[in-house]
Subunit: 153 residues, 2 copies
């Protein structure tokens, strides 16, 4: 009949507000990043201000490249304001370290590939192509040690 409150919004409005897709919101709910929302009598999900904030938090974390698992942890920590924020610092430090490793690995990859690209500056036949030869040869390894399987995977 009458809507309970006028600051309750539907999933599409929430999606627009935060800039995510509707399906993504439902996915976050399934993954436990968002609480199960209230449902209108017709079964539609209804969200309030707090839900908007929470979703925004999740998105900000994702924009920083954090894994959903890490975000779950941060959300839990956020709900315990009396606790020490050392854990937060540690988590962020670890994430920065991960980013640094990725950066170093990508940089090495690029350097190696640019070098390889230099082996075939001009257009010629594939039989003579230095790039393919480079990729075939065992000297082409990016990583010196066998036990370091490179950033594959």
């Amino acid at each position: 009949m009458a809507k309970a409150r006028k600051d309750l919004i539907k999933i599409g409005e929430l999606a627009n507000l935060v800039g995510v897709q509707v399906v993504t919101i439902r996915y976050y709910e399934k993954e436990g990043l968002l609480d199960k929302p209230h449902r209108a009598p017709n079964g539609y999900r209804t969200y309030s201000r707090g839900d908007v904030d929470r979703l925004r938090f999740v998105r900000h974390c994702r924009e920083h490249g954090m894994a959903l698992e890490d975000i779950r942890t941060l959300l839990k920590l956020r709900e315990a304001p009396e606790r020490d924020c050392l854990e937060v610092n540690t988590l962020v430090d670890d994430h920065i370290k991960k980013l640094e490793e990725q950066l170093a690995s990508l940089q090495a990859l690029k350097t190696r590939l640019v070098e390889l690209r230099g082996k075939c500056p001009h257009s010629g036949s594939i039989a003579e192509c230095g790039i393919l030869r480079g990729l075939a040869g065992s000297h082409c390894r990016v990583w010196p040690a066998e036990e370091n399987p490179a950033p594959v995977s």
Copy 2:
């Protein structure tokens, strides 16, 4: 009874030679990156020298961060030695461009996160933690424009 030739190897030996897991070889076969190998009477896959080279080529490409789709293309090109190697160059150039984009995006991410980390240098209560506040606030966006959804996904 007698093995056909002694330079035929089983899948485990191939895996050891190249440094990949057995399941990965079978996966590459399913994906069409490796030919369907001969089978011994007992049904075991048997590989020869050429198969080792091909697998090594695939791995080198993967170590350079190339997608299986790109590798498929390179493998096809490799089998047409009379053709112009322009396509190879283009593919590699594109891949280098992709790596550069990834690098830039990761670098921006890291810069932003390090800055955020600086907001909570000391251990304190979560309620006051500048990191969580930063992640919650809308000023925390890494990317200025809304239509640039950041390297999420």
